[in-house]
Structure formats: structure tokens, C-alpha cells
Subunit: 328 residues, 2 copies
DNA sequence: TATTTAAACGTTTGCGTAAACGTTTAAATA
DNA sequence: TATTTAAACGTTTACGCAAACGTTTAAATA
């Protein structure tokens, strides 16, 4: 690989002139400019991105930490973040925590060690104090999807309660269900508790009792919910609310396998994504987070925060949507 | 942010000693080591990752360029790559081309400018010559999923032909279909042509004619296939092969919307992912790429190539799997 | 005592670039 | 002709770190 010095020597100018030609930071006569560009072309010279970052302190890189890249919910948010920041010349460094606290701490540590200009975190932690020592003060951070206690940073959050409440209302008033079970996500996560609250509140408002065992605690990960559905079926639940999209997939699988007819023998309300409406909408009611909008907001906010660190802290809240099963 | 020099001054030693304490690269007496670590702790010092990379030339960063992060096929491959390389201390820089040649060229250009140690590309191009000027000679690159013409790099590829052939065989011999249509992906992509070849070959082997219009050219992106299904229905096709998973989703959506009964009025063979077996398997036959294995192989191969650039070029081929619709 | 040896640490350089600061040349003015 | 001015470019430094190279001290050997 050639360096700026090589270009300078071969074209008979100084490194300063080469730098200024490449960055348009000073006037250079047309003839000199061409001489330099010719040599650049001939040697196939490319400025070293690391050296440049080292000198300028800008990396043009934003980190994002998510619990599960292969879950479309996160993939969609990532995609939206990328779309926003790439318009401003930034790239995205994506890290996967596998919903594991230790992984998250490692990732935060290494990304905040000067690797990225800013960080978006969909945290698997519940309290910011677990994280505080890893984040240098003043480092631009935006939290995404999940609220932490004691967190002095920007947040972009969904409001799932209204759509879930509405969904349960639908199960009760229009489909006549009375025994409705609930499969939770990881209970340390704010969205899990919020969704459970929506369930409790809807059940209460319609005078339905939440019997022992109606609330089954899941962990948001694949295959964890199979036993939980069984438990709820044993309790003669005729409807089940599933707090998380991966577990909702599993629940559908299980019911299909057992020959239990969706929307006849049982009704489901679960988290989903827009694209799933294509094939899943006749099987269950969906509540869908505004993933793209959330990703966009987070991307925009981290850019704002990087540009102006003194900005007052913001909390951006975006509503989920309910899609009811069309009756066949 | 404090630097090594600050630590050195405050703890009364030289920068060399600080460096050696932090990296364990030279013996330092226990008392000195503790003095240094205490100051490091007190100042909350973190070595600057960029400066370190600048000095050592290692970035511990691998780039991956994919057509669509939010498509689970790619998300799964990405996840597998990340799992492999993170075991070796590498991180993953993910770029999205949106199946656009210009975006791909930009990403390749900027990633090969010293930002990453190696690059995995699921290319949207068809010929390596379009790319060759962007890739410095000797730069570690592994191509994933899609084969380019004239490409002198490692490749990790799926073999979809057997499973698709088998799927069409199933449609013909066990379900009795004779009028089978095909919706292609982007025809510049190697997987698209390979899948089409499987279709042609199965149709030919069973003496079925591919009538005018039976092959509808799609573009692999959402919503592009709606009109194509209509065309095939007009031609009285009773089975349709869909080359790409996103378009397969759309096809199911369309058929469901129109009240056309899957597996009764019409049969579908489409690309899918493992997780879809949960809810989609009763609606269509799936061929599923070994995404996780492919991602792992690509991750492993880029690590090998970085460590030993002289390795002979490899082509790793992994077979897709067919999942037939269970008859209801 | 003179010399060697090893332990422990310090001094310095250079990675490639951006840009502050400085220099040369010739044209423009006095 | 002497001085100023502006255009065009050169010289140098600093970014933070890793490590080659060098130094000091005291103990071990001759």
C-alpha cells in the first residue's frame, strides 16, 4: 500500500499539497492538482481510514448493540438506523448480545474505547448503574426500545400498552374469551413489564380474574415457550397473549403441530412485524412495533447528540399498532 | 479523555512501562504494576482503540456486505459470522446494499480503505471485473452465497439445485401438477440462475413443457411478485415455484387475500428459513439454505485468509434442504 | 576489586494524515 | 527601483500508542 508520502515524492510536491488536493482544503493550481491525481490513480492510492480517524478524532462510525440480529424486529430497526446515518456519511457497527448481560457489557466497553463516535443500545440490562462505569461521561448514547432505570441518556421507546390493551379488549368483547393467559418475555426488560401491565389492566377493567398460572414467565428466546403453552392449555385458557415475537412463532408452531385450530379452538394475540401480516394474519392477532420509525428516530437522535452534546435529553415514544385477525 | 502519557506522569513511570503493564508485553515489578493500575483506575483510562489500530495495523474488524439486513436469510448468516469471529476477538461491520450495485461499490471502496482486516461480500454484482479496481490486491475477501464470474477469491456457496429439483419432482409425481410456473429472482444473481436451471431441468426430465409465460422474472424485492402471480394464475398454473423468500411471502399473501386455498387450489414451493417451518409449513413447500453453516464457513474462512493470505483459494459448497408440506 | 550478568525500567521513533505555520515567487503598487 | 501583496506551495508538528533500542542499578561471578 502506498502512502501520501509516496504520492508526494512521485509527483514532485509536498505531502501537504497531496492532502489538500485530496480533501479540497486549500487552493491548488490545476496543473499541480492533475499531476497529483494522476499519480494517485497510477498507484491506486487510497487514504488510510484509520490514520485519518486517528488524526481527526472522527471515526464516522456508530455502534449499535442489539439482543438478537436474526430477530426481524431488531433487523428492521438496524436497517432504519443504517439508512438514516449512511445519508450523513456514517457506517454502522453492529453487535449482538444474545440477550446476555455479560456480552452487552463487553460490547459497550470495547465500542466506547474510541472505536465509534456514538452508540445505540437496545439493552438487556434493567438498571443503568450496571453500565455506568463502562460509558465515559459525555459519550453520545441513545437507548433503543428498552428503558433502563436511572438512565441519563436519550431514549427511543415503543408504547405497546394501547395496542395490547385494545387487542385483549377485542378478545374479550368481540370473541367472548374469559380465560386468557399471558406468556411474558424476560421480566428484567421494560417492554416485558409494560406488556404485562397492559394485560393486567385490560383483564381488570373487564372484570376477568387472572387465575393462578395464567401468567407464564418466558425468556423471549426460541423454543422456551412450548411448555408454557401447554400449561395454559391445561388451565383451559381459550386465548393466549404472547409478549414476544419469537415466542409467538413457537406458540403457533406448537398449536399447529397439535392440530389445535387457530381462531377456532383458540385465539392468539402476539407480537409481530409488518411483513408477517402476509401469512400470519389469519392465524393470530398481531401487535406491531413501529420498528422503522424507531430506528429512524434513534439514528437521527444519535446524530444530533454527536453534533451537539449539550442537547437536552430526550425521550421519544412511538405507538405500536394492532392488527386484528380477519374472520374467515 | 486521558492518554497513556497522563498515566505515566501521574504514576511516575514512563509511557513504555504503562504500555507494558496494560499489554503484558514486558516484565514489570509488582509494585510498579500496581501503581500504574491504580492511576489507570483513578482516571478511568481506556486505551484508544483507533490509535492502537493505527500503530499495529490490526483493526480486529471484519466487514460484511449484504443485500438486505432485514431479510432473515441474511440476518441469520450475519449472526453466524459474528458468532465465529467474535470468538477470535473480531467485530463485525455490516453494510447494506439494498440490492443496488452502486451502494455495493461504495461500501467495498470504503471498507477496503484500511477500515477492516477482511471483507465478506454477498454481492449483487455478476462479474468480479466490476469490482476489481475497488479491491487492493491481496486484500482478504470471501464471497458469500453468490458466485461472481472471474472471481479470484474464496467463496461459500449454497447448492440449491438438488432440493429444488426434489421439490418440483414432489409437485409432479406426488401431487400430480403439470402446469408449474416459476418466479425468478434478480437474474444477474447466480442463485437465481441456478434455481431456474433446477426448474428447467426437472420440468424437462418429467416431460413437462415450459409454456410461454411460465417463467416470470422478478427482482427479489418486496411486492414485486404480486403481478407475476396473477400472470401465472391466468396461465392456469396449479403450482408455482418462487425463487426467493421475500417474494414467496408476498405470493402467500396474495393467494390468501384472494381466498385461493393453499395446497388445494394451488401448491407453492418457495425459499424459506428454518424458523418459518413453525407457521408456514402447512402453506407451502420450503427449500431452506443452510444459512448458519454458510455464515460459519464464511467467518472461518475469512479468519483463515487473514491469518494466512497464501492459502489456496477455496470454494465451499453447502446443500439446501427441502421441507415438504405435511398433508392435512 | 574488576567484570559480567540480569532485572527493571526509560528514551525515542514511527505508523499516515491534517493542518498550523512558514517560505518562495512574481505581479502589483509606490 | 523599493516595497507590498497575493498566489502557490513547502516544512513541520502532533495525534496515542507499541516496541525497538538504550540505560541504570545491584547482585553474581571471576
Amino acid at each position: 500500500m502506498s502512502t501520501m508520502r509516496d504520492i508526494a515524492e512521485l509527483s514532485g510536491v509536498s505531502v501537504a499539497t497531496v492532502s489538500h488536493v485530496l480533501n479540497n482544503t486549500r487552493f491548488v493550481s490545476e496543473s499541480t492538482r492533475q499531476k497529483v491525481l494522476d499519480v494517485v490513480d497510477k498507484l491506486g492510492y487510497r487514504p488510510d481510514a484509520i490514520a485519518r480517524s486517528f488524526k481527526t478524532g472522527k471515526k464516522k462510525l456508530i455502534g449499535i448493540i442489539v439482543p438478537d440480529i436474526s430477530n426481524p424486529v431488531w433487523a428492521l430497526m438496524i436497517e432504519a438506523v443504517e439508512a438514516v446515518i449512511s445519508d450523513h456519511g456514517y457506517r454502522l457497527l453492529i453487535c449482538n448480545t444474545k440477550e446476555t448481560e455479560a456480552h452487552e457489557l463487553e460490547h459497550v466497553h470495547s465500542l466506547t474505547s474510541g472505536l465509534v463516535d456514538g452508540l445505540i443500545i437496545a439493552s438487556t440490562l434493567s438498571d443503568y448503574n450496571q453500565l455506568v462505569s463502562e460509558i465515559p461521561s459525555g459519550f453520545p448514547v441513545v437507548f433503543l426500545d428498552r428503558k433502563l432505570k436511572n438512565c441519563p441518556h436519550d431514549m427511543v421507546l415503543p408504547s405497546d400498552m394501547p395496542s395490547i390493551y385494545e387487542g385483549i379488549e377485542h378478545l374479550i368483547t368481540e370473541e367472548g374469551h374469559k380465560r386468557i393467559g399471558f406468556i411474558t418475555g424476560l421480566m428484567r426488560i421494560s417492554t416485558s413489564t409494560e406488556r404485562l401491565t397492559a394485560y393486567r389492566s385490560a383483564m381488570h377493567d373487564y372484570g376477568l380474574t387472572i387465575e393462578e398460572g395464567f401468567i407464564q414467565e418466558g425468556n423471549s428466546m426460541a423454543k422456551s415457550s412450548l411448555i408454557l403453552v401447554q400449561n395454559l392449555l391445561q388451565l383451559k385458557c381459550t386465548a393466549i397473549v404472547v409478549s414476544n415475537n419469537i415466542m409467538a412463532d413457537d406458540v403457533l408452531f406448537y398449536l399447529n403441530e397439535k392440530g389445535i385450530r387457530l381462531n377456532k379452538d383458540i385465539s392468539i394475540l402476539g407480537q409481530g412485524i409488518e411483513r408477517q401480516r402476509n401469512y400470519i394474519l389469519r392465524q393470530m392477532n398481531l401487535f406491531v412495533q413501529p420498528t422503522t420509525e424507531m430506528g429512524r428516530a434513534a439514528g437521527q437522535q444519535i446524530l444530533n447528540r454527536i453534533k451537539n452534546p449539550e442537547l437536552p435529553i430526550q425521550q421519544i415514544i412511538l405507538n405500536s399498532t394492532l392488527y386484528r385477525c380477519p374472520q374467515t
